[in-house]
């Protein structure tokens, strides 16, 4: 399908698939200005399954989401642990410093940890898709399994196996949950 589409796209400019950034360099060529695409982005669902993010976008998306989520969660947990560590007789400056120190440290730690998990996951998923040329639940499960195993590899085989199983189950659950959500909750 992919090969077919690319040749179609090359030959027929009027019925190309919708792509918002196509031909949109800053000096917009006037010949492209009003040649708006007439076909919908995806006609069949198989098409939308087939066309996925490129590996670079995949990498930045998972890593960025992981890092941001991890550091926000860590920083907000650190605020509470900083407040808990107040002692009697602390001045306001000391209190602010306690909060800043603990939230900064927790945010940094968790951001790095979850960001690395996202990086490994994106790499393995792109690799699996490139090898098997399929993208379904099992891709995510394999990627989650590999991510857990790599992330805990230094703690020994047993720990890596447990973490891999956990990662595979978690990734599969997320994908399955997303499909259930899509089917039953219409947004």
């Amino acid at each position: 399908m992919a090969i077919n589409r690319s040749s179609d796209h090359e030959s027929d400019e009027n019925t190309r698939l919708y792509h918002p950034y196509q031909n949109y360099q800053v000096p917009i060529k006037s010949q492209y200005l009003y040649k708006l695409p007439t076909s919908p982005e995806f006609l069949f669902t198989e098409e939308s399954l087939k066309q996925r993010r490129s590996w670079g976008e995949n990498l930045t998306f998972y890593t960025g989401t992981g890092y941001l989520a991890g550091s926000v969660a860590g920083a907000s947990a650190g605020i509470f642990s900083g407040i808990k560590s107040f002692e009697n007789g602390d001045t306001t400056k000391l209190k602010i410093n306690r909060i800043l120190n603990s939230s900064g440290q927790a945010g940094r730690t968790w951001g790095n940890r979850v960001g690395i998990v996202g990086l490994i996951y994106a790499g393995i998923e792109s690799g699996v898709v490139a090898v098997t040329d399929k993208d379904d639940v099992w891709t995510s499960v394999v990627a989650g399994l590999g991510t857990g195993a790599v992330f805990r590899a230094a703690r020994g085989v047993r720990s890596a196996a447990v973490a891999g199983a956990f990662g595979g189950i978690a990734a599969g659950a997320v994908v399955a949950g997303k499909q259930v959500f899509k089917r039953y909750a219409h947004i």
Binding site: T63, G64, R113, G115, G118, L119
Partner: protein, 218 residues
């Protein structure tokens, strides 16, 4: 000109993109660096394990510091785009300075000012190189553009999209190819002021829906 930059993601998404890209770059590059350094610095017999340990300790950390820079930088960039309603090199320079200053705010005002200066100069250098590369490319691009334009443009060139700045098919765009770099830099600046009412939109498009094109003839 006043057009929003379309070679990158539109603005709020750019933050996520930059955070992820910077983290990936920093983590991969830092891992390679610390692996080699660890192998070199470990005693014989434990070289590989020492290298891997150094990688595990320092790889994520360098990724984190890269992504803090990238994320803050593009957050400031987007804030400046929204505040100033235009995208130009000054945004990058100012947000580089703001990032540098913000990151060392806890070391005191002096240290903050110093690292803001470093950040601004760094980003100014990067922007300068980018502008030069752009000039070199656009001189080649412009000639081709004018050829295409002469061949096909008349029926299309009549309409104007309201609210979106379109490169006006005027002859002055071709003259920038023949002037020197610095000359065209200054010339361009004056030109944008002339076309202010046309090329400056009320709210930048990256913050709301794209304008609906009208097919009215002028």
């Amino acid at each position: 000109m006043g057009t929003p930059e379309s070679s990158r993601e539109p603005c709020p998404d750019r933050i996520l993109d930059d955070v992820g890209g910077a983290f990936a770059m920093g983590a991969v590059g830092g891992s390679a660096y610390h692996l080699i350094r660890g192998i070199y610095n470990s005693p014989g017999g434990a070289r590989l394990s020492g290298g891997v340990q150094a990688l595990r300790m320092s790889g994520p950390r360098s990724g984190g510091s890269f992504s803090v820079w990238g994320g803050l930088y593009s957050t400031f960039d987007c804030a400046l785009v929204y505040a100033r309603q235009k995208e130009d090199p000054w945004n990058s320079i100012l947000s580089g300075a703001a990032t540098g200053g913000f990151l060392s705010l806890r070391q005191g005002l002096g240290a903050s000012a110093r690292s803001a200066l470093v950040g601004g100069v760094l980003l100014a250098m990067i922007e300068g190189v980018g502008i030069m590369l752009n000039k070199v490319q656009s001189t080649a691009h412009n000639e081709q553009f004018m050829e295409d334009h002469a061949a096909t443009s008349l029926p299309y060139g009549m309409g104007q999209i309201s609210g979106q700045s379109v490169p006006v098919p005027e002859t002055s765009s071709s003259s920038s190819g023949s002037v020197s770099w610095f000359g065209s830099l200054f010339k361009k600046k004056k030109e944008t002021e002339d076309h202010h009412s046309e090329s400056r939109t009320h709210i930048l498009e990256s913050f709301d829906a794209p304008p609906v094109p009208t097919y009215e003839f002028k």
